[in-house]
């Protein structure tokens, strides 16, 4: 391990870049703002790369650890580190930030500097969430990441943006404040320490475990989002600008799932085992019921939003079956979903920029005017449906394998998603892309330009690469997941 504080750099480079972008001022300097944003987004990605290349895949311990006191009075530390579970998300996040900056390059015309700054700051804060090993530090990043997203939805969003932004904010805030109370309780139990790894070793009796389990659930379930607290997500997605939707789907949704792995499972394993049937039931409802809901959506973004909830149901399902293949499958699914849902939203964004409509009914026969776009969209739709050789397949298949080990009927219900996912995605694709040219607006569409081709192509490469050869990613996870499961298997009572 080198002495370079890569994690700190990954957090603070985007944030500093965001502030600098803000300083570029009004829209007259928009080109400058864009350039600064791109440079810092690339720099952020660049400093995140050593996290992968320097990662020791054989070790389950925290790596790239940075530790220094922050608030002595409460023993709060600036304590960072990554393991195989969190490291891929930092890479994913830094990567998606670059894509988002490019995707918003000319599309955003008003308040460019603020737009770019919000995404950069957001990116830094999200990296902070994934690398924090101190409870309060985690909470601080977790909460403050709400601010940029709130502004992104509210300023650049669609017609009903204010409602959506507020709903998003308050839902998440309620959840996370209950989590804060749980953290304070753990702080006392751990003998005045916010060290998450120390919390993992705590012995806690069953009643307390249940309380903590539900306090954490309140926070993470909203973020994931799990049924029945998912209702903020379609609203937020529909109203957010394309970049906002991408970050929301690709990264922000992963926070809740990550929270389950970092907090719920290791800290309260007995409660997690105890309530696993509940969690599995909720996950299956998300998978099946939300899948049906997605089927009937008339708005493309809403459809993808519901499909996200359904996919995230798969993730939570994978976690609470407590076997290695399930958890790893869920992690792969999270990363794959980051690429695929991001790409889906970008595709919809491409259409929306031209037509200013997201209604499926307004489209038809897009393939005739935008053949290149149709090809990309096809690939991502297939990945969303979980077609083999795309990244979507790997995760889903692993989770279903895990489910078969666990219980046949759970696996059976989970597998329905393969049918449903194909049904809603491909049906939407058919209505939008194939058929006769629906109206003169569609007839006037221009195919994607070089910038759009670029970011869609990169994402397409990622989706295919992960689908064909997921080993580089699963290798990173192995040690950490195994250690986590061993830890969870031993009760704390």
């Amino acid at each position: 391990m080198t002495g370079v504080p890569y994690l700190s750099l990954a957090i603070w480079i985007p944030i500093v870049g965001g502030l600098l972008t803000l300083a570029s001022g009004s829209d007259r300097n928009a080109p400058v703002a864009r350039l600064i944003a791109l440079v810092f987004a690339l720099a952020g990605l660049f400093v995140a790369l050593p996290l992968y290349s320097g990662f020791d895949t054989t070790s389950a311990a925290m790596q790239f650890v940075e530790r220094s006191p922050w608030i002595d009075r409460f023993a709060i530390e600036y304590y960072l580190g990554v393991d195989g579970i969190s490291m891929p998300f930092i890479l994913l996040n830094s990567f998606i930030t670059v894509i988002v900056v490019i995707a918003g390059w000319v599309v955003i015309e008003k308040k460019v500097a603020q737009y770019m700054a919000a995404f950069l700051i957001m990116s830094g804060l999200l990296n902070g969430i994934f690398s924090a090993l101190d409870g309060i530090l985690f909470y601080v990043f977790f909460e403050s990441s709400l601010i940029p997203l709130y502004l992104i939805i509210g300023i650049w969003g669609g017609a009903n943006r204010v409602y959506a932004a507020l709903k998003f904010f308050l839902y998440t805030l309620l959840g996370s404040l209950l989590m804060l109370v749980a953290f304070l309780w753990l702080f006392l139990e751990a003998g005045a320490s916010f060290d998450i790894l120390q919390w993992h070793q705590l012995r806690i009796d069953m009643t307390a475990q249940s309380w903590i389990f539900f306090a954490l659930l309140a926070s993470f379930a909203v973020k994931v989002p799990m049924w029945p607290v998912h209702t903020w997500l379609p609203d937020a997605h529909v109203e957010a600008p394309t970049g906002g939707s991408v970050v929301l789907a690709a990264i922000a949704l992963k926070l809740g799932a990550y929270g389950f792995l970092r907090f719920t499972l290791p800290i309260v394993p007995d409660a997690a085992h105890n309530f696993a049937p509940l969690m599995i039931a909720l996950s299956l409802i998300a998978v099946v019921y939300i899948g049906f809901v997605a089927l009937v959506q008339a708005d493309m973004k809403k459809l993808v939003a519901y499909s996200s909830i359904s996919h995230m149901g798969f993730v939570t399902l994978g976690f609470f079956m407590f076997n290695a293949i399930g958890v790893e499958g869920a992690l792969v699914q999270m990363i794959s979903h980051g690429f695929v849902s991001g790409a889906m939203f970008l595709c919809i964004g491409v259409l929306y920029d031209r037509m200013h409509s997201r209604q499926i009914a307004d489209y038809g026969g897009v393939v005739n005017t935008m053949p290149k776009f149709a090809a990309f969209f096809m690939l991502f739709a297939m990945a969303n449906a979980g077609l083999p050789a795309t990244s979507g397949f790997v995760g889903e298949f692993m989770v279903i394998l895990g489910a078969v080990q666990f219980n046949f009927w759970v696996a059976f219900l989970a597998a329905i998603t393969l049918i449903l996912g194909a049904a809603y995605t491909l049906w939407m694709y058919k209505r939008v892309v194939f058929g006769e040219v629906a109206n003169e607006h569609v007839a006037a569409l221009k195919d994607i330009n070089g910038r759009e081709f670029f970011f869609l192509a990169i994402l397409a490469i990622c989706v295919l690469a992960m689908g064909l050869f997921p080993k580089p990613i699963t290798d990173v996870m192995h040690a950490s997941v195994n250690q986590l499961l061993q830890h969870v298997a031993v009760g704390k009572l």
Binding site: D72, E143, L146
Partner: protein, 497 residues
Amino acid sequence: MEFMIPDFRPAMPELFMAAMIVLILLVTTFIKDKRRSVVFWLCQFTLLASIYLLFQVDQEYRAVDTHVLLGLTFSGMYVIDSFGSLLKGFVCLAVAVTLQYGRVYMAERKLDSPEYYLMVLCCALGMMILISASHFVTMYLGLELMSLSLYGLVAINRDNIGSTEAGMKYFVLGALASGLLLYGMSMLYGATGSMQIHQIARTLYEHGAQDVVVIFGLVFVLVGVAFKLGVVPFHMWVPDVYQGAPTAVTVLISSAPKLAAFAMAFRVLVNGLFDLVEQWQQMLMLLAAASIILGNLAAIAQSNIKRMLAYSGISHMGFVLLGLLSGYIRERGLEVDAINAYSSALFYSIAYLMMTLASFGMVILLSRNGFEAENIEDFKGLNQRSPWFAGMMMIVMFSMAGIPFFIGFFAKLSVLQAVVMAGYFKLAVLAVVMSVIGAFYYLRVVKVMYFDESSDPMPLKATLGFKAVLSINILAIAFFGLRSNDLMQICALALRF
């Protein structure tokens, strides 16, 4: 009884300020209206020099004896300790900032008569005396000096019905509260035979505190304190007075006097009546819970930003009380936990001081040229008019809502930590749930600034000094969020007794 010349040194800052008030009074009679700014700068000099003196005196006393709780002087009527010095320092600073915020505002409305400056200084002096009082008489003296100045200040715009009505309301209710306070003090005197706070504490410790008269006295004193803090159910005056007073006066009422009232609460309850802790803890619990609930719920319904901030202030005071009541824990060792809890309350009040100054400063910033920016709607599209100050206001709002990286979050965190440590989980959960409701109305301000179109495209006009002080004020909220450790340590050190 033999007469002794008291030691004047501990009271140097107060004596200096009193002398300066007289001097300024003299100066104003000889000065032309055009030279009004001389008065302003004299006031600023007085306040800043007082801070310097405070620092000197504090150093001097700490050099003599490091662990001293106090130097008492004036026959035990006056106490010097680092708790008092810290609070007095912040009071002077807050008043200086207030004057800066109010300067142009008052001048534009022709309200910047010398009385305004003098009453503000008198108010500051009253607060300093109140903070250092260790005897019911000095306490009452300080309290009334502060309150009477404030009554006058609220009604200073005497041609305005709202202002005079607010002044009247404030005066009547304030006088009632003072009466109740006095009544309670007399009962405590009757039961213990002393008005000196440490003497009372000793008597209660030696003879037990289960006397009905003592408890009655406690109740009445608490009512007086609660009124000054403006907590439910003694909060009725807060929104009306905040709204009616000229905004430059509202800044003052909402900021420094809360610190002084906190000091009074601390001295009476913790220093004086600690043997009644089980009683007042229960009472504070009710007051705090009611304040947090009502403050947050009522704030939602407000369209006037001054009223909204008033209700939000009520809920913040509830949080301060939460910290204050968490100091006593039956089962555990007292010492560490108590300091922890009290310093969290102290930290919270200082954090609130910064935030409330900044929020009303923003209101003043928008109400230029005789136009009163009283409604939340007036913040519409501020992001277009001035991205910098929209960002600043956003920091204040998020800080008040308790969203991290800003000081408001760490203040809430430290109080909640104390509450949880004392074992009151339900209170903590209540406070947390109410914070979410509170976030709603703070977010509405952000929403109005960022998501709505501006109806008034005029850029903001303000003097450079105003903008600089406001920006520093708000950047301090962000800075002390990141470096909250330093301020927390100072608070904890101030309470080490």
